[in-house]
Amino acid sequence: MNSSLLEEVANNVSIPVVGHGGVGSKEDVLDLARSKFLSGIAIASLFHYDFIHSNRSLEGYEAEGNTEFLKSYKKLSNIKAIGVNELKKFLSEEAIELRKAV
């Protein structure tokens, strides 16, 4: 995640900027959340790899495209996957104000 680029963009526009693409760990998310120039952070891989790793059953996902990939429970080495609720808890403990896990 190129945060200096994001900061440059956010400082040059008056509309909300959402950072999207490349957070590899909860610490990355924390850094961006603390920076205050972003209105939002979009997270995909971090959650997706956590989901496929913690969901052992493929029930209901038989129609999904790459079931071999899902069954492999692969992890990407440069991503420290985390679930949504766990991430919220972590950010909350670091004094980032956010909506509680539902």
């Binding site: 008056s14 509309i15 909300p16 209105s39 939002g40 956010l98 909506r99």
Partner: protein, 211 residues
Amino acid sequence: MKKYSVAIIDYQMSNLFSISNALNALDINSVITSDPKVILQSDGAILPGVGSYPQAVNSLHDLDLFETIRNFINSGKPFMGICLGLQLLFNNSEEFKLTEGLGVIEGATKKFIDKPSVKTVPHVGWNKIEIIESDHNIQNYPFRDITSDDFFYFVHSLYVEPTNLDYVKSYTNHEGFNFCSSIMHENIFASQFHPEKSGKRGLQMLQNFFN
């Protein structure tokens, strides 16, 4: 016996189905309508709103809804305004050009961009509301079981400034500026945030008000 039903006022520019879905989830009957008779016969009404003030006012005039809304409010039955629906209740708005609204609540609708500390417009996303303690004992108190730690969903570029501060029921902070995020006066409750887009807390609020 006729079932309790809420009219969702259709003036051709709103997220009508979000609201209808929210009420369905609560088992509250509703009807999306621009028919004055249906609106006036309903047990409650919601004035939603997404879009620009001048266009909304034109639409309301074209559909002859100004009087219907005022009459419904005078009936004393629960009336909820959401987002643009809150702003339309006021005297006017400076969005694009100064436009007169329903004038049911004294005050104006102003632009965020004119406030020095505000750098980002529109105000989009989840934000907290600081609830002004008020009469919890009224039957349909909207904030029952809701606290100032709860988040609601906002998306707007203007805010309301009621002349009578007693009507303000919550304040919200956007980039250092505290603005009125909801008002209540007699049978009217109106919020700048969208209860129908605010998860469980939003549903709670709808359920509290239309019980």
